[in-house]
């Protein structure tokens, strides 16, 4: 007989039924890949064997550890670029939501910026900001701007006549309506924008590195590719995926905490926390 409530039993079941199938599938895919390259079905110059990539990973990440400097440079570029882009986007979105005139003048520029492929600005940006981190940060900021701007603005100008009338009947000032109603109501959409923006910021940083750079995972990867060292190149790609995952889950975490009222389990936790805070202050 199994006691389904015991945590140990729970994790065993969780592993067998939810995690194990993924691991098996992954192992099979890698094995097929290894087999395909081994039998000469795919040329190993174009796509290296997984075992060779494994060797490159060990070299880059463990024995030589060359990747880390580049890893942190790219991570920094993406994050700083994102923060700059997000600050500008949110400031302009807030101003546009407060002033119809301001919005009328800002929107055309935002649209032009959006329809111009941001990546195409790379040569110009490098000419302006140089080979260093500056140009990577600038491109990351530029291409993360639009999704954050549009989502935040859409959130802020949502119409909710009933609640607006409630605030009005309570004699609230415009500032109170903004702070107590418009901003919280806009948060879910703003976070949707921030999540997209953070992903695009990484794209911006890496593309700028591909174009011209001395440091960063992008330049490392293109160097390996030029040397036809595909195993090392793909091992480097893995660090970009890692950066992407770090950024994505940081945002998910913040979204979960800040826009807590949309998720059942977070609501319950917030509800308990507020009850405690209430009892402490009384």
């Amino acid at each position: 007989m199994h006691n389904k409530n015991s945590p140990a039993t729970f994790w065993v079941f969780e592993f067998i039924f939810r995690v194990l199938p993924h691991l098996v599938l992954f192992a099979v895919l890698i094995w097929l890949w290894e087999l395909a390259v081994g039998t000469g079905f795919i040329t190993s110059i174009i796509i290296p064997r997984p075992s060779k990539i494994g060797g490159a990973i060990v070299e880059l990440y463990i024995t030589e550890g060359t990747i880390y400097r580049h890893f942190f440079i790219t991570l920094t570029e993406a994050v700083v670029g994102f923060l700059i882009g997000a600050t500008i986007a949110i400031s302009l979105a807030v101003s546009s939501s407060l002033s119809e005139t301001f919005k009328r003048y800002v929107i055309p520029y935002a649209i032009v910026l959006n329809v111009t492929p941001g990546i195409a600005l790379t040569p110009v940006i490098i000419a302006w900001f140089g080979y260093g981190m500056g140009s990577k940060i600038a491109l990351a900021a530029i291409i993360s701007f639009f999704p954050i701007f549009v989502n935040t603005l859409t959130g802020l100008v949502q119409v909710d006549e009933d609640r607006e009338e409630l605030f009005q009947s309570l004699g609230a000032t415009n500032y109170q309506v903004f702070r107590k109603f418009r901003v919280p109501a806009a948060l879910p959409l703003m976070f949707a924008g921030l999540k997209i923006g953070l992903t695009t910021a990484l794209i911006g940083a890496v593309v700028a590195e591909f174009a011209q750079a001395t440091d960063g995972v992008g330049v490392l990867m293109s160097r390996f590719s030029f040397q036809l060292n595909m195993a090392a190149s793909l091992a480097t790609l893995m660090s970009m995926t890692t950066i992407g995952l770090i950024l994505f889950y940081t945002m998910e975490f913040l979204d979960d905490r800040i826009v807590f009222w949309r998720r059942e389990n977070r609501r319950a936790a917030a509800s308990r926390a507020r009850a405690r805070a209430w009892k402490n202050q009384l």
């Binding site: 009933d162 609640r163 009338e165 409630l166 605030f167 009005q168 009947s169 309570l170 004699g171 609230a172 109170q176 107590k180 109603f181 919280p184 948060l187 807590f260 009222w261 609501r267 319950a268 917030a270 509800s271 308990r272 507020r274 009850a275 209430w278 009384l282």
Partner: protein, 261 residues
């Protein structure tokens, strides 16, 4: 001509009055309310009934100061209404709670808008939640509450304003009959307890009479006050009063005015 002394003592008791109040929309092409006259005494419970579109919500929004009348004047405590004021508070058909605030934080919203809530304000908010039977749900978020519970939070918020004129626009209209009847009883008890003057919009004639001291019967196109029916039934009223002869006479009276019989 009425005796001037009597007139004076009665004006003292009047909290809300309207003289020839009218409201049109869309450059005068929609007459939402026409030529309404009324004098409501302190502590009365006034029900408003009438077909859809006869101007019930418009009348409440005029009294609350959310919209200005096109003609005539509404006065509260003798001064004309020019905008939202602290002694009037309105409750809407939907609960209009803020999703990111717990029940008690929602109740405290009116106090926050007037300044920083004190300990006394917070205790009062908690007492009001107790009054509407939600002390166990004070720290729940709206999404964790049923529709009826959300309306009760909205009712507590209405009372937290401290206003003594309460405007209720079909507050329990979206709820099932069982919950609605229960909340109506609570509302009646609470309004009496705090000594407020209440305006209550409903589509249900029996409900209107059961709760009210006066039933304002309205007709549409254009919206007007057709008749004000006084309800002289003793309080407290048991639910069974609805089967009494007097009660049914009042129902008939209201029906006739509405032209349904």
């Amino acid at each position: 001509m009425p005796d001037p002394t009597i007139a004076q003592s009665s004006t003292h008791d009047i909290v809300v009055s309207g003289q020839g109040v009218g409201k049109t929309f869309a450059d005068g092409s929609v007459i939402a309310l026409q030529d309404a006259h009324f004098n409501i005494k302190r502590g009365s419970f006034v029900s408003l009934v009438g077909p859809s579109g006869c101007g019930k919500s418009t009348l409440l929004r005029l009294i609350s100061g959310l919209i200005p009348p096109t003609s005539g004047e509404i006065a509260v405590h003798g001064t004309p209404v020019t905008g939202p004021r602290a002694d009037i508070s309105m409750m809407f058909q939907k609960a209009t709670l803020l999703d990111w605030r717990t029940a008690i934080e929602n109740v405290l919203l009116p106090t926050e808008i007037n300044g920083t809530p004190t300990k006394a304000d917070k205790n009062r908010a908690f007492d009001l939640l107790k009054l509407v039977g939600l002390e166990d749900f004070a720290f729940s978020f709206p999404a964790q509450l049923s529709g009826g519970m959300q309306q009760r939070v909205a009712l507590a918020r209405l009372l937290q304003t401290g206003a003594d004129i309460l405007l209720l626009d079909e507050p329990f209209g979206a709820l099932d009959e069982f919950t609605r009847e229960h909340l109506n009883l609570e509302l009646m008890r609470i309004v009496q307890e705090v000594g407020a003057t209440a305006f209550f919009v409903t589509h249900n004639i029996a409900e209107a009479i059961f709760l009210a001291d006066q039933v304002v019967v309205m007709t549409s196109r254009p919206g007007r006050m057709a008749k004000i029916v006084d309800v002289d039934l003793e309080r407290p009223r048991p639910l069974s009063i609805q089967t009494s002869v007097e009660f049914n006479k009042l129902v008939e009276d209201v029906r006739e005015t509405l032209g349904e019989m």
